[in-house]
Symmetry: C2
DNA sequence: AATATAAACTAACGGGTGTTAGCATTGATT
DNA sequence: AATCAATGCTAACACCCGTTAGTTTATATT
């Protein structure tokens, strides 16, 4: 009889979610079946339901975990006393780090949110909208202080967040440039594009 | 008895693909069924097969149509005698225009390519890789001519293409800024970020 | 050792999927 | 009007899906 095993101090649910994140990233949420996931976890599909409520709950866990980390970091940055451009850089670096360290989770949260059921979907989209609004306000602030050139804050936010999302392409590649080089070049382009 | 009707001079297959592009953009390829598509087209699901080979063929048609348009435009730009930075700007504007004018097709091609079956998948990814390589070469050329600052060409390409892909967010929004304002601000940020 | 709890298993449910085969209807051609 | 071609329909195929119910096995507790 099989048994769910994972990293030290992980609950069985956490193991399932971790395995699911890899599968969903690779095949997409819809194309990944619970039977597929069960194979990766090492039990029968029906056994998963001893630890999770539903397939949907896995997606919720992944999306909201990522959202919460971004929001917490933004709150910390907003509370800091740095100049606006420095704050923007801190945020950019954090996003890049998340794409490096929690790539599967961030990828799924970016690409599969539309499979979230209501009211989670509305909640999630509202959080994202609010996050982008805060970033736009920060850029507005930077413009008014003369630290940032005149640009539509909305467009700047769209460019920054989308560009970082593109790290997925690097993740799927043979990584002929290092994570450090990627980060420094992205920060250079995105921050200097604002001056 | 129902009948497939579309724009003047469209074949039935083209109508089906057009309707499919909207459905796939809205719900995703996997979550869109042929029965769903049939409802949008106005016939029974089985009738679609009088005009198309398979669901997969629709995705192929969409992805390769988009790829061919990008490649054709790039070829034309490369053949032109403009300075490198001007060429980059022309390419950026073309991508933005495609996101405006053929949004559904471009969106699907960006997000659903992983559902392409072999050998179409490999072919498609090779074309995208080759396209990015050409862009990176262009940027390398601009750097060596002193038109573009020292930056990893690979990273610059990743940023540019990903940022433009983010127009999907604008497309899903209430569009409180116009397409023109979006385009000008994106060009400003992305081109000046290279100087 | 006996009992209780946790967790894995089997079997099945109710529903959906892409697609094919054969028939019926509509429209075009002679 | 008769015939042919195009195209829509019904019915069904073989399979897959997420999930539940009840049983069995493993582990923990007394």
């Amino acid at each position: 009889m099989a048994k769910i095993r994972g990293k030290k101090n992980s609950t069985k649910k956490e193991v399932i979610i971790e395995k699911a994140s890899k599968l969903f990233k690779e095949k997409g949420f819809g194309a990944s079946s619970m039977r597929d996931l069960a194979v990766h976890v090492g039990v029968e599909a029906a056994s998963l339901y001893n630890h999770i409520q539903s397939k949907s709950e896995i997606l919720q866990a992944i999306c909201f975990k990522v959202a919460n980390e971004f929001i917490s970091h933004l709150d910390a940055v907003e509370a800091s006393k740095e100049p606006v451009l420095k704050k923007i850089e801190m945020i950019i670096r954090f996003h890049i780090r998340m794409m490096m360290e929690q790539y599967e989770y961030v990828y799924i949260s970016d690409h599969e949110w539309r499979h979230l059921p209501e009211p989670y979907l509305s909640n999630f989209l509202n959080q994202r909208r609010s996050y982008r609004k805060s970033l736009a306000d920060l850029i507005e602030d930077g413009i008014s202080k003369g630290e940032i050139k005149k640009i539509e804050p909305y467009v700047a936010v769209l460019i920054i967040l989308s560009a970082i999302s593109g790290i997925e392409s690097w993740q799927r590649s043979r990584k002929q440039i290092s994570a450090e080089v990627l980060e420094e070049n992205m920060v250079k382009y995105l921050v200097e594009g604002l001056k």
